[in-house]
């Protein structure tokens, strides 16, 4: 039963992954055999389809035909533009109107017909064609390099009237601009023993300029019991600079968790930053051993005021309120308050 669920989950992940791979409008991948699968995404895809291999051939003439190819009077008159592929114009993206542009400006879906970025190569490649260096590897730039980094978002001492705790949240990452592996940990230590700990192994993959899809496995352990989860989520930067991380976890016991976190950096000066933060947990099922009830379970809101001595090292003080809801509140040990307020002292650092 557990296994079937997990297997299904991975089939689902694989599906998501392959759709994103195809959705990447990459001329190199636009071979005819892929065409059928290319319908996964928006109008961009339609344009991309029209620009595959046979267009590559015409392109050198395209460029040369007339400067008018790149000039049009106004983009409202697209339909009548006297240029190039008819198909391209039939598929002009819809989000083309002026209103949309003034709203999201540069995020327009493009004007004029789209180009194949490989059209100018005339079939030559970086590793084939004339004047290639013999037996020497090609120049390799940092775009082909993988980096490794450590990011510690919170390393803090928490003081409330019930308990004193040390909390840690951070990850080690390895990868490039678009694909990274993360080993993430979130640990709460109370009275020298690990109260709760989560270890995630994640793969993140860019799906748009500001958003990544992330999926992986989580092992949860601590005072109460152990749980294993598989996760899929989105993380990224929303308009107006909100840092958002939303993930759905499916547990081996059939439970599910939806966890959404958002934070915002408000610059009081170039180095003094106020960061409000919100974190909501909601479970699909009740799990008494872990003290979790189904439905909205925990709401954390708070702020951290940090001073960036360096962008890489910033101590902070903060205040946080944790509220337990519904059945989760009912499951609290006798005498424990459903609302807990605490002060925080910690620092953020990364390498």
């Amino acid at each position: 039963m557990k296994r079937t669920l997990l297997r299904r989950f991975f089939v689902f992940l694989f599906f998501i992954e392959s759709s994103f791979a195809l959705a990447q409008v990459d001329g190199a991948q636009l071979h005819p055999e892929h065409e059928e699968h290319n319908h996964t995404d928006t109008a961009i895809e339609h344009d991309a389809e029209t620009t595959h291999s046979d267009e590559v051939v015409d392109h050198s003439q395209h460029g040369s035909d007339e400067p008018g190819a790149a000039i049009s009077t106004n983009h409202e008159q697209h339909g009548s533009q006297p240029d190039t592929g008819e198909a391209e114009h039939q598929h002009m993206p819809e989000a083309m109107d002026h209103e949309a542009m003034s709203g999201s400006m540069m995020q327009s879906e493009g004007v004029g017909s789209l180009r194949d970025p490989h059209a100018y190569s005339n079939g030559f490649e970086l590793t084939s064609g004339p004047y290639l260096l013999e037996s020497e590897r090609k120049i390799s730039l940092a775009d082909a390099k993988n980096f490794v980094g450590l990011w510690v978002d919170r390393f803090e001492y928490v003081e409330s009237h019930d308990f004193d705790a040390t909390e840690f949240e951070g990850h080690v990452w390895m990868g490039d601009s678009y694909n990274r592996f993360l080993l993430r940990g979130e640990v709460e230590v109370v009275n020298d023993s690990v109260e709760t700990a989560e270890i995630d192994l994640l793969h993140t993959r860019a799906i748009s300029p500001f958003w990544n899809v992330q999926y992986g496995l989580r092992r949860e352990f601590g005072e109460k019991d152990e749980r294993n989860w598989a996760s899929i989520g989105l993380s990224g930067l929303a308009p107006y600079w909100f840092e958002v991380d939303a993930s759905l976890f499916l547990g081996e016991n059939g439970n599910s968790l939806f966890d959404i976190e958002a934070e915002y950096d408000l610059l009081l000066t170039q180095r003094l930053v106020m960061q409000p933060r919100i974190d909501i947990h909601s479970y699909g099922k009740t799990d008494k051993e872990m003290g979790r009830g189904s439905g909205l379970s925990t709401l954390k809101t708070g702020f951290r005021l940090r001073y960036e001595f360096d962008r890489q090292l910033a101590p902070y003080i903060g205040y946080e309120r944790v509220i337990k809801y519904g059945e989760t509140a009912d499951l609290l040990p006798v005498g424990e308050d459903r609302t807990d307020n605490h002060w925080i002292l910690g620092f953020k650092f990364w390498f």
Partner: protein, 588 residues
């Protein structure tokens, strides 16, 4: 050549809590430390036309250059630099047009190295780009460069391997015209602008991958918003910020690296060290200015002293007199000045306004003139974000173009429309400009509201016009793209590693439109062939090797594909280049 005889090491300076001022200004005696080549000190200035800084001047037809790690200290923290013949800048090479020069470059580093002759027309095997034109120079190896000089003027050379240029490998080249110097001057000086970071450039790069705005300490803050609201009202203040916030862009994203990590140099000397170039009153002085910085645009001026630009990228231009010149990495400018005071400050403020390089033109050593007040960083404008859309739609209220309806409708009908690549719609590209501006008379952000005469691309006229008068047979369009949050830089949304080469047919004349879909200015350098800058109507302006393209701007130029082989074409901001804003060109 000037060396510190003793290391003059002051333990106080090595403290991590060194004062901010010292960091910006650099050490007075900062620079190259260590034993080395024959040094004649400042007095050299009296003996040779060159040598204001620390670089030796080498002339002749055969040259031996040795690349070695050497200690350097610009900020109070000793570091290891990669140097050519033990100096920063490297020796100035004086060549003569028509000569065949031989340069033996010996690598005494532990990694491969290379030297690229920036702007020099030569066979591609001699161009010095490892992995494209030659295998690179392995440790312990000597590579012999040999090529015939077909041009004259001011150029420069630098490593094309990893970030070695940022750690000291750059020097000037001066090629005397075969028929003798056309530009009459009583004296000439090299002004080589550059920068130094105490950090490992690759680590700097990695940090930017983690946090794109790491070095920007000029970001919008809450108090600034409140002040703006009280001065201009809520609407105006919010409107001004709205577009940037929606697009997740910083309006002060003017440079990736700032004075937070960089110390800016003239001829290898910090602002505090005050590199001094001598003249005698009444003399006409030629300054050969090279921007050899890895990542910095400089706005150079000499307060109260107009500069007559006579040469750009080594090519003679119709003289044009200006007060200020914005210089991208890789560009060179020759100017004539006739100083009338005992001392004039050469002031090269960075485009992001966080720091400056400074030197002095003086009648004797030890003199100095006031350092001009620093300017505030300006926000990028609507034009920088939207190109000509800012005229047509003006959704945020047209600021400087309001009221001029005739002109508006005119420019509207002539609007150039971008043709994006299919690959610009993925994670690599955080903005796209649909209607680029083609206004080459724009001095660029931070220089627009000034009474000074600022040189612009439209002021340039190479003497003699285009060599190749043919109309281009075809046109290609390339888009400069990036994503500041991910710190990725590319062309048409594809980094070099994912790209295919651009094919120029041997002998053809073609037109290139470089369209900037980012918020930063990119100095684009095509190796091996000249870029003939044109105005929006296709009229020839100037022959260049490095062309700055402003945000949301389209710059067009023609190329005669007369150089067989594989060539590099890239943004000369080294971090952008290494991030992948780089293409290979195959001429066949």
């Amino acid at each position: 050549m000037q060396y510190e005889k003793s290391s003059r090491f002051d333990p106080a300076l090595a403290s991590p809590l060194k004062s901010r001022r010292r960091f910006v200004q650099g050490l007075i005696g900062g620079g190259v430390v260590g034993a080395g080549f024959a040094s004649s000190g400042w007095a050299q200035d009296e003996q040779l036309p060159f040598g204001a800084g620390r670089a030796q001047v080498l002339s002749g037809k055969t040259f031996n250059l040795v690349i070695e790690e050497q200690p350097a200290n610009f900020t109070g923290s000793p570091r290891i630099a990669t140097m050519i013949n033990g100096s920063i800048p490297a020796p100035t090479l004086r060549w003569k047009e028509g000569d065949t020069v031989t340069i033996n470059v010996t690598n005494r580093l532990s990694q491969p190295t290379s030297i690229h002759w920036h702007g020099i027309i030569l066979p591609f095997e001699m161009d010095g780009v490892p992995g494209i034109s030659f295998p690179g120079i392995a440790p312990g190896q000597t590579f012999q460069y040999r090529f015939k000089l077909q041009q004259s003027g001011t150029y420069w050379y630098h490593s094309h391997s990893a970030f070695q240029e940022m750690t000291g490998m750059y020097g000037a080249i001066v090629i005397e015209p075969a028929e003798g110097e056309r530009i009459q001057a009583d004296r000439e000086h090299l002004i080589m602008l550059s920068e130094w970071t105490d950090e490992d450039p690759m680590y700097v790069f990695q940090k930017l991958k983690t946090m794109g705005h790491l070095y920007n300490f000029n970001q919008p803050t809450l108090p600034a918003l409140l002040e703006d609201i009280s001065e201009n009202g809520l609407d105006a203040a919010v409107t001004r910020r709205d577009m940037f916030n929606v697009m997740r862009m910083k309006p002060t994203d003017l440079a990736d690296l700032s004075a937070d990590t960089l110390t800016y140099l003239i001829n290898g000397v910090t602002p505090a060290g005050n590199n001094t170039s001598l003249f005698e009153k009444g003399q006409r002085v030629r300054l050969r200015i090279v921007n050899a910085a890895g990542n910095t645009f400089f706005d150079l001026r000499i307060p109260d002293l107009p500069m007559t630009v006579v040469q750009v990228d080594g090519m003679d231009v119709e003289p044009v007199t200006v007060d200020e010149i914005r210089m991208g990495a890789g560009e060179t400018y020759d100017v004539l000045v006739t100083p009338d005071q005992d001392a004039h400050t050469i002031f090269a403020e960075t485009m992001d306004r966080t720091g400056y390089a400074r030197g002095t033109l003086a009648t004797q050593q030890g003199l100095s003139a006031p350092i001009p007040p620093r300017r505030q960083a300006q926000w990028l404008s609507m034009e920088d974000m939207m190109g000509t859309m800012s005229h047509a739609d003006a959704p945020m209220g047209s600021m400087d173009h309001g009221g001029d309806h005739a002109e508006m409708s005119m420019s509207n009908s002539m609007q150039v429309q971008a043709r994006h690549a299919t690959t610009e719609f993925g994670p690599s590209t955080d903005m796209r400009v649909d209607f680029p501006r083609t206004n080459l008379d724009d001095p660029g952000v931070g220089l627009r509201e000034t009474d000074r005469r600022v040189l612009t691309l439209s002021d340039l006229r190479t003497l003699g016009g285009a060599i190749d008068q043919r109309e281009p047979e075809r046109e290609i369009e390339l888009h400069l793209t990036g994503n500041m949050e991910r710190y990725s830089w590319s062309i048409d949304g594809l980094e070099y590693g994912k790209s295919t080469p651009i094919h120029f047919r041997y002998g053809e004349r073609l037109r290139v439109h470089l369209h900037n879909d980012t918020m930063m200015t990119h100095p684009m350098h095509l190796h091996g062939m000249w870029s003939d800058l044109e105005d929006a109507d296709g009229n020839f302006l100037a022959r260049r090797h490095t062309l700055p393209v402003q945000p949301a701007q389209r710059v067009s130029f023609s190329v005669t594909a007369d150089a067989l082989g594989r060539w590099a074409w890239h943004c000369h901001l080294l971090l952008h280049m290494d991030a992948g804003m780089f293409r290979e060109v195959v001429v066949v």
